[in-house]
């Protein structure tokens, strides 16, 4: 029998779990110690039987994290189970059985090549938002070779959440400074944590506030003007909120998702503020929105805000659907050009 060195806390509990694990697997695998591969198969099957979404991916990501790796292909599945790994797997997989998102369970997720700390109920960055980040960055680089924009500029991330957009852009634009705002104190903490993790906190000013309030708007405007304003505002409609999968509905921040009846409450406020936040002519606003909303934004801008904002482009996401807006300010808020 193999002996293990035990920690001071939770020894009895971990040992019980490990013995359960051995009993569970030994009978099916001829009495020898179970491997990591056995445990992976076991939990994948559990998830499948319970109807958990993405059973293989969930089990793989959790197992990898239990042995301090990112992906299952980095794991030697023929390795024998240990007490530590068994305890970790048990705790994490039980949370997955309750439909908790994997990112919350493992406490991190990747955004481009950056690993970010993730905490409930802050919104977990989606692949679409990775595209928004790339679009905003491409916008900066598209400004002719004579432009000094790439070297220094200012960006604003509205509704920063985990800080994905601000942190990503600041890592790619070393001379830039940034401001982020989020109504949630937990989100602001996480933005700060991730900015520190990626060594850009010295260039990021994190604000906590509600952008619907004039005071918040004034604070943000005074720290401008911004060459880039980027946002993934809550854009789900009330009706859609009712039909969300449990991972999202039960665990992610409703305030980060629901944009009111038509999903555009926050977007409209952003459009009204944008001209006063953006640098005239050269400043760009990039938005990720729900399906059908970019067209609505274009209509709103052309019919109501055309003296202050210029609608530039609608871009498609990787599913080839219209998802992103690019806008510019026509002139300063006071009408100067």
């Amino acid at each position: 029998m193999v002996l293990f060195i035990h920690g001071r806390h939770g020894y009895a509990a971990s040992l019980t779990i490990f013995r359960q694990c051995l009993r569970r697997h030994s009978s099916s695998f001829g009495g020898s110690l179970p491997t990591l591969g056995d445990v992976l198969a076991h939990w994948t099957q559990n998830f499948r039987e319970r109807g958990i979404d993405e059973p293989e991916s969930s089990a793989e990501l959790i197992l990898a994290h239990a042995v301090d790796k990112n992906m299952v292909h980095e794991v030697d599945l023929s390795r024998a189970m240990t007490k530590t790994v068994a305890a970790r797997m048990e705790h994490m997989c039980r949370r997955r059985m309750k439909r908790e998102p994997v990112a919350y369970i493992i406490g991190e997720w990747d955004f481009h090549d950056l690993t970010l700390h993730i905490r409930p109920p802050v919104l977990i960055p989606r692949p679409e938002t990775e595209e928004l980040a790339a679009l905003a960055l491409a916008g900066v680089h598209a400004c002719g070779s004579g432009s000094k924009l790439r070297e220094s500029g200012a960006l604003l991330d509205v509704g920063s959440g985990s800080g994905a957009l601000a942190v990503f852009l600041l890592t790619r634009l070393p001379g830039w400074r940034g401001v982020s705002v989020d109504i949630s104190p937990v989100a602001c903490e996480l933005t700060t944590l991730n900015a520190r993790r990626h060594r850009v906190f010295d260039r990021l000013s994190v604000h906590q506030g509600d952008i619907h309030l004039d005071s918040t708007f004034r604070d943000l405007a005074s720290a401008g003007p911004y060459d880039i304003v980027v946002s993934n505002p809550p854009y789900i409609t009330e009706a859609e909120m009712a039909a969300l999968q449990p991972e999202v509905a039960l665990h992610e921040d409703r305030g980060a998702l629901c944009g009111g009846t038509d999903g555009m409450v926050v977007t409209r406020r952003l459009l009204n503020m944008a001209a006063s936040l953006l640098r005239p002519h050269t400043g760009r606003l990039y938005l990720e929105l729900g399906l059908g909303q970019p067209a609505e934004v274009e209509r709103l801008v052309r019919h109501g805000l055309h003296d202050r904002l210029r609608y530039l482009h609608t871009r498609k996401d990787f599913t080839n659907r219209e998802r992103f807006c690019e806008l510019a300010a026509c002139s300063g808020a006071d009408g100067s050009s």
Binding site: M71, N232, Y235, A256
Partner: protein
């Protein structure tokens, strides 16, 4: 006063970063992701970000699930596709072939070098009248 000759071998240094890879045009590829239908975006929480690229003109299919990030997987899938297109279009002049030849050459030279050192050691022992026991 012994004069010595320094022999420097010049090998072609090939690097992934400086090599000119064949262009992968967006219009030539079909990208597939592991997602169902539905509105996507904020309404979906998905962890499997595997990407599959199909290059229509050549029929080459590349799959990438190397990372947790979809954008990184897309980038790496394109790099892998370019690698295979390079082999297809350039054959023995592809990065893959040149790299393999470079490595084989290095290995052969290293093997030669080891033999030369062994010879030199043997000569030294003979000259000094030493036997292997003395080492």
């Amino acid at each position: 006063m012994r004069s010595s000759v320094v022999c420097v071998s010049v090998s072609r240094h090939i690097s992934r970063k400086t090599y000119s890879w064949p262009e992968v045009r967006d219009s030539d590829i079909e990208e597939e992701f592991m997602r169902g239908g539905g509105p996507g975006g904020q309404s979906v929480a998905k962890t499997n970000n595997c990407v599959q690229l199909k290059h229509i003109p050549s029929g080459i299919v590349v799959k990438c699930h190397e990372t947790r990030s979809q954008s990184e997987n897309r980038k790496k899938a394109r790099e892998r596709l370019a690698y295979h297109l390079d082999i297809l279009y350039n054959g023995e002049n592809s990065f893959d072939a040149i790299n393999k030849r470079d490595r084989a050459e290095k290995k052969w030279k290293a093997g030669n070098k080891a033999e030369k050192i062994r010879d030199l050691k043997r000569q030294f022992k003979r000259r000094e009248g030493l036997t292997t026991k003395d080492f």
